[in-house]
Symmetry: C2
Subunit: 340 residues, 2 copies
């Protein structure tokens, strides 16, 4: 392998100068920098992506902007932790750093200055929702043509890059599974409609019922906020309606776990008294009693794909697509909570 | 509240100049910059910590360096996700960014150039172990007197800042709980001794037995690697030794969950055939069947404390301590897996 000494010799500079150029340290005559980079290239000197980013005046960082939610340990939720694991893998394999920042969802976030101040070369937006302030921040980013990608949330603007899962189809298959087993009275505990992924689940739920000739009954549709506590609270109306329910579809595992806990506290036997199908296939899904039938979402793959596409675009602007639009498929995992 | 206009007026510059100074954008005469900062200060103009960091030529980022472990979704492990949630909270509340990077544990990581290239102002090292390459990277960092902190791992070097949990005491109390319930033949499934926190658990286990007049029996001490799979594999020797075991202490919840799964597959009834005490009190601990008696570790608080101490040091070098050395207490959570 080529070493720093050989690069220094070919460029006619000291080894220290080679290091300074490749690490972007201190001021440097442009001609010297060019000579070093040229020599490194000719000798196939393995440039660390970060070092070479610095040499080109880039940050070497992929930004990830998360919503700040007081008291929630965001990294400990399966959704964010898996997305970040996937993003982290892509970033690591390309030698980038991952710069995490928090936004207040109620205020339009100034993404653009992250690029201007060279803190990031590209950005992934996690946990975005439909509220005006969020849309405003993202639309500004799209207007500037900067490389970014929104995760798992749709926006009207065709200039917004998106990597998402097909939650309509995932939900359709979840409800279809219950219908196939002969259950007809299927409730739905959904998350907030400010997320397009909640609305997509609702569309899939409605379509599955319609295809089976069943009218959607709004009185057995409940709303939580994707937290375990909100699932536990939903046990009160669900228990009240128990005589009208065969089964319930729940928009994530956390709420399903809270719901099952709450129902059990009120004396329910599960799955005998109510069949449950959840969503995510988080680590906890297979260790609950009964284990959860749930829709597996490839969050890790989604995070990795978004990051890889963005970093590829940074390295090769010409041949890569300008707007990313990917939708990944989910997979139903059948366990005992749905009566199997 | 003071606005940008008033700062611009007092400093005798345009509003755009105020923004450029506070966001560190582009070149700027030093006298102009000083005048803007002085005016902002006099008017108590609320400087965003990051903006002012940039104005001072800092990155505004706290670095977090994680070990790269192929195929492991690091953010999805309770240990890392809770530490990161705590670090994230401190970083967010002080207006910093969190720059995540991965290291190959087999190679001495060049922390020092992260500071030199102004990618970070301070660093937290997660998941460090005792191997030479790791020690070398960290000792170099200590030699340079740069602000950093190692999480939950002890090093001989007194210049290394550490925030850890008291795993010796936590383990002592876990084993003591089993002894108090009359169980005498207590096995131990530990993680790798390359982590000081594994060795500390072993010390606590041994001390609890000794205090009860019981000789430590090496033949019922097992080793895993903190993964669920390694716990499931340990079910083979544990099942073989079952006639010699009343209970087992396991170094984290993941391995305990794997072990219980493996034992059940071999026909064991739990907790009837074997009492289990685990470690961490992760989300999964309370949803397993039986729910896990486990040692709660304040990972979130540890992460937050380390980040707050480092960021405080950055903002006020004079009055803050140079070396951080904190040890937080654990708490035993009693549930059904230990026979209650």
């Amino acid at each position: 392998m080529t070493n720093r000494k050989e690069v220094a010799k070919l460029a006619g500079v000291s080894e220290a100068t080679v290091s300074r150029v490749l690490n972007g340290i201190g001021p440097m005559k442009e001609s010297t920098r060019d000579r070093v980079l040229e020599a490194a290239k000719r000798l196939n000197y393995e440039l660390n992506a970060v070092a070479s980013s610095f040499a080109r005046g880039k940050s070497g960082n992929l930004g990830v902007v998360l919503p700040y939610v007081p008291k929630v340990h965001l990294f400990s939720t399966y959704y964010f932790s898996e997305l970040l694991s996937g993003i982290g893998e892509a970033v690591r394999s390309k030698g980038y750093g991952l710069l995490l920042m928090f936004r207040d969802p109620a205020v339009a976030y100034d993404y653009v200055s992250l690029y201007r101040t060279q803190r990031v070369d590209a950005c992934i937006v996690l946990g975005a929702s439909e509220i005006d302030s969020e849309k405003e921040g993202i639309n500004r980013l799209a207007d500037e043509g900067l490389p970014f990608c929104v995760m798992d949330q749709r926006f009207d603007n065709p200039l917004v890059s998106i990597v998402a899962a097909d939650h309509e189809q995932g939900s359709y298959e979840a409800v279809r599974h219950l219908l196939d087993k002969g259950f007809k009275r299927i409730g739905f505990l959904n998350g907030s409609p400010q997320y397009s992924n909640s609305r997509d689940r609702m569309t899939g739920y409605g379509r599955a019922l319609r295809d089976a000739g069943i009218r959607l009954d709004e009185s057995i549709v409940y709303e939580g906020n994707y937290s375990r506590t909100s699932g536990r609270l939903a046990a009160i109306p669900v228990h009240r309606d128990l005589s009208r329910l065969d089964a319930i579809f729940v928009s994530n595992d956390r709420m399903a776990i809270g719901l099952m806990q709450g129902l059990r506290e009120q004396g329910c036997r599960l799955p005998e008294d109510l069949k449950v199908v959840a969503y995510d296939d988080s680590d906890a899904a297979s260790v609950t009693e009964p284990p959860l039938t749930t829709v597996k979402v490839p969050f890790y793959d989604m995070g990795r794909l978004a990051a890889e596409k963005l970093l590829t675009r940074l390295m090769d602007k010409e041949s890569s697509e300008a707007v990313i639009n990917e939708r990944l498929q989910t997979e139903l995992k059948i366990r005992k909570s749905s009566g199997d």
